[in-house]
Symmetry: C2
Subunit: 241 residues, 2 copies
DNA sequence: CACTGTCAAGAGCACTGCTCTCGGTTTTGT
DNA sequence: ACAAAACCGAGAGCAGTGCTCTTGACAGTG
């Protein structure tokens, strides 16, 4: 458990970190599929075969990068939420937009790592179970925010929305475990907003918006605001309505 | 102009088609980034260098596959819209959901071609201008549907939605050219619904929904319905409201 | 000191995209 | 009808890839 038990352990941890850093650098210039172990080893001044002592295969290195990316994005979202949660009076709509913007900003700052986790999956690469926990950090932030907003009376009842039943009700209920008390109607719409958020970011990053919403700042802001209203997050001034 | 003017032209067209077919087959088993010209040539019983007579580079082959995919998806969407447009009385909400479902079904039937056009862009590959026209066929279908719906009084005025101004108004106005008469508020929401649709499909195909909305049929149906209402498409019974 | 596990190095395999040259065929212009 | 031009597939070859295997050197522990 001790991080630097022996000199060998320390050297190994350090080199592992350096390999991932070089891989990330290469990810930015060459892309995920052209990630080359030999190029990394060249950059690090070592022989290619030595890399296999640290990552048994190219896929294992990819897995490490994917987990790191999920964790970095998750930490960004958590930080944005945290920063906004302490305001008084707390404004869940502001927190919602802050988290969404933080996710977008991270994606724009790290487009290749974003593509690695939210783009088309690398073929022949089977994501191991270890990736699902870091992948769920962003949804957990959003659901936690919703849960607190509900507890404090910030959620509209969505009277006009249809009831959620059947298979969908069961599926929505697994979200409810992370957002106790939030009604199904709201949770379903959170799922819709969730896919909208990442769909929009992917479109922006992957060039699907050029010609229309290309500088996407205003589109993103408007969409985020309207989706927040869609799921029933009230504006600060509108609590008692 | 004549398709089979000479024997050589005919042979060339046929071989071009066979190469793309083999490439598509390999796309399904190996993925876009592992698409190998040598493997294609092996499958076709020819020498690898001969392929370069038909596609000057791997990127050119990819471009052809991308254009074909956009065209196939566009044709699917157009067919779905056409089929629903002729119903009487015409129900634009039904057409909307039909087009969305058709897009999803095509994506599920051709996941690798979908990933090719809506997944992370292949690194080092610069999409030429020739791809934008086939890429716009689906948006054109949706906007045309909205335009007709507006002309026939099927669109709610979206009174509670905020005004669209500034840069966003200009961006939305380029959509307006494809959907004459449709108000900005509606067009902005169409953009939001558009990103939601493809975000949802991508999440389903790329495995981001497992653990929650995994069999996504009901989620998809509910989301499509609610997004249609979001953009103001009225239900058939609610025209006069 | 000796043993055990870890390390970098290097050769080697089968593969990739791509280029170039070669001889043969087809199409085209006159 | 015939020569010139365009096109074609075959093959060799280049520089690069992921990955495996063996070899010899080193550090940590008994």
């Amino acid at each position: 458990m001790n991080a630097g038990r022996t000199a060998r352990d320390r050297a190994r941890a350090e080199l592992t970190h350096e390999i991932k850093a070089a891989a990330r650098r290469q990810l930015a210039t060459e892309g995920a599929e052209r990630l080359s172990l030999r190029a990394i080893s060249r950059e690090l001044g070592m022989v290619s075969s030595a890399l296999y002592r640290y990552f048994p295969s190219r896929d294992d290195l990819l897995t490490a990068l994917i987990i790191d990316a999920y964790d970095a994005l998750g930490a960004t979202a958590e930080a944005a939420a945290q920063e906004s949660e302490n305001d008084y009076p707390w404004d869940p709509l502001a927190t919602w937009t802050a988290v969404c913007s933080a996710v977008r900003d991270w994606a724009r700052a790290n487009p290749h790592e974003y593509a690695l986790i939210y783009g088309s999956p690398v073929t022949g690469y089977k994501a191991p179970q270890t990736t699902v926990e870091p992948a769920s950090r962003v949804p957990i932030v959003l659901l936690g925010l919703l849960s607190r907003a509900h507890a404090e009376g910030w959620l509209s009842p969505l009277r006009s929305a249809p009831e959620v039943d059947g298979v969908l009700a069961d599926q929505v209920d697994v979200l409810a475990e992370l957002a106790p008390g939030v009604p199904r109607k709201t949770l379903l719409r959170v799922g819709i907003a969730w896919t909208q958020l990442f769909g929009m970011i992917s479109f922006e990053l992957f060039g699907q918006l050029v010609g229309t919403m290309d500088p996407a700042d205003e589109f993103f802001a408007a969409a985020t605001r309207q989706m927040a209203e869609f799921i029933g997050l009230r504006r600060l001034a509108a609590v008692g309505e």
